[in-house]
């Protein structure tokens, strides 16, 4: 196959599995992030900020050596240059990776949730932006210039990444499956507004106010996404689900699940997008609640832990199981043990389709998995996963 045929073949593997059809073979999509840059010996800072050819070369080296069917994400997910113009955001990048600067997740108090619920855009701009970035305390003319610079920075960042994705597809014949990220509203509250202690207190003490704020954030997010006019294609909309497994199931059902279900109905059932949820932590206590998700929607769940077989069987028709390869096996097992590990997983999870093979955790550093074991696992999986 030439690169174009290869690209189309691989895309079809994913579109088939996401549409609940049995693909030609089990698609291989390990969740590799900055591991690829470490493996290629390329500075992450240079690849993310200065020269997008370096980012392309790192992914080329990874996909040349490890037989995968897709790059999950090119990993350059933060517009750092935009943040620098505001005196630095909550993330920094250096040669080795991306770090969060201290604890910046608590930007507002619980009693402000009511104000947030009355209008996220005004509350974000008038209250939180100024609180988060003190340099905004300047003349309106200077802030107009700064905002215009932000628009330019955002466009440049999107073009920078877009060029890499295009090259990966055209020159390597490998799809990059994640198109965009949408947060579930409660995860945005957790990560950027209230932090863990704050949101946990809100769940107990002011659940109605939290829910109302999440409704407003959800509507804001949907409007923002629809305004961007991104095409519905074979690429996925990604959402990392951070907070659910820290909630009691009855709180999850009442406060979080309604937004997850509404999101699936809006984007997958109504608009045909493929949705990819990173199901962080252990979802076993929540599987019964997930039975209420719509059947036949194009929804993929990347599961970190739990009983894979039980999850796959219980969510059959509602969520495609993505995962199965433990990074601890890539890290600690002997190379000669890898084939048996892959075989056991495939014998359990591949029958009947509904399965994408990938790592349980995202791979950030080289010690998240030895290249030898990784190549062995994917090479064997490519052969053994034929239907």
């Amino acid at each position: 196959m030439n690169k174009k045929e290869l690209l189309n073949y691989r895309k079809k593997l994913f579109s088939d599995v996401a549409s609940h059809k049995i693909p030609d073979r089990v698609p291989l999509c390990p969740f590799v992030e900055t591991w690829a840059l470490h493996y290629a010996g390329i500075s992450i800072k240079d690849a993310f900020l200065n020269d997008n050819n370096l980012l392309f070369q790192a992914i080329k080296k990874y996909t040349d050596d490890v037989p995968v069917d897709a790059v999950a994400s090119i990993s350059n997910t933060v517009p750092f240059k935009m943040g620098m113009n505001y005196g630095g955001g909550i993330y920094t990048v250096n040669d080795d990776g991306v770090q969060i600067r201290g604890s910046h997740g608590k930007l507002m108090d619980g009693d402000e949730l009511i104000e947030l619920s009355k209008g996220a855009q005004e509350f974000f701009a008038n209250k939180l932006a100024v609180r988060k970035f003190p340099l905004l305390d300047q003349s309106i003319e200077k802030n107009v210039d700064l905002i215009k610079k932000s628009i330019k920075d955002m466009k440049e960042w999107m073009n920078y990444n877009g060029e890499v994705i295009e090259r990966i597809e055209n020159e390597l014949g490998v799809p990059t499956v994640i198109k965009a990220t949408n947060y579930m509203p409660m995860d945005a509250v957790l990560d950027y507004l209230r932090d863990f202690v704050g949101i946990s207190s809100d769940v107990r003490k002011r659940p109605e106010e939290l829910y109302a704020a999440c409704e407003e954030l959800y509507n804001y997010m949907i409007e923002m996404f629809l305004d961007s006019n991104l095409p519905v294609d074979d690429k996925w909309l990604f959402s990392p689900l951070h907070y659910p497994t820290y909630m009691r199931p009855k709180d999850f059902e009442k406060l979080y699940f309604p937004f997850m279900k509404k999101y699936i109905e809006e984007f997958s059932v109504k608009r045909g997008n493929t949705l990819h949820f990173f199901m962080e932590n252990n979802w076993m206590p929540y599987l019964d609640i997930l039975q209420d998700l719509p059947e036949g929607a194009k929804v993929i769940g990347l599961f970190e832990t739990g009983n894979a077989k039980e999850i796959k069987e219980k969510l059959k028709g509602r969520m495609i199981y993505h995962g199965g390869l433990k990074v601890t096996d890539l890290k600690f097992s002997k190379k000669e043990e890898i084939k048996d590990i892959v075989k056991k997983t495939f014998d359990e999870l591949a029958p009947g389709g509904g399965f994408i093979y990938g790592t349980d955790y995202s791979m950030m550093n080289l010690n998240d998995g030895t290249p030898e074991n990784f190549i062995e696992a994917m090479s064997f999986a490519k052969e053994y996963g034929k239907y």
Binding site: N126, V144, S150, M154, D227
Partner: protein, 41 residues
């Protein structure tokens, strides 16, 4: 600050519309910048 930051955003929207963008497009971009300020960077 003796003004609301939304006023600066509204001025930017007006400028973008004057430069040929539709009102809807300009407001969409403003929404994205505000979201990124709080929930991304």
């Amino acid at each position: 600050m003796d003004y609301n930051l939304m006023e600066a955003f509204e001025k930017v929207v007006n400028d973008l519309v004057e430069d040929g963008m539709t009102q809807e497009q300009a407001e969409g971009i403003m929404k994205k910048v505000i979201w990124n300020l709080i929930c991304r960077i």
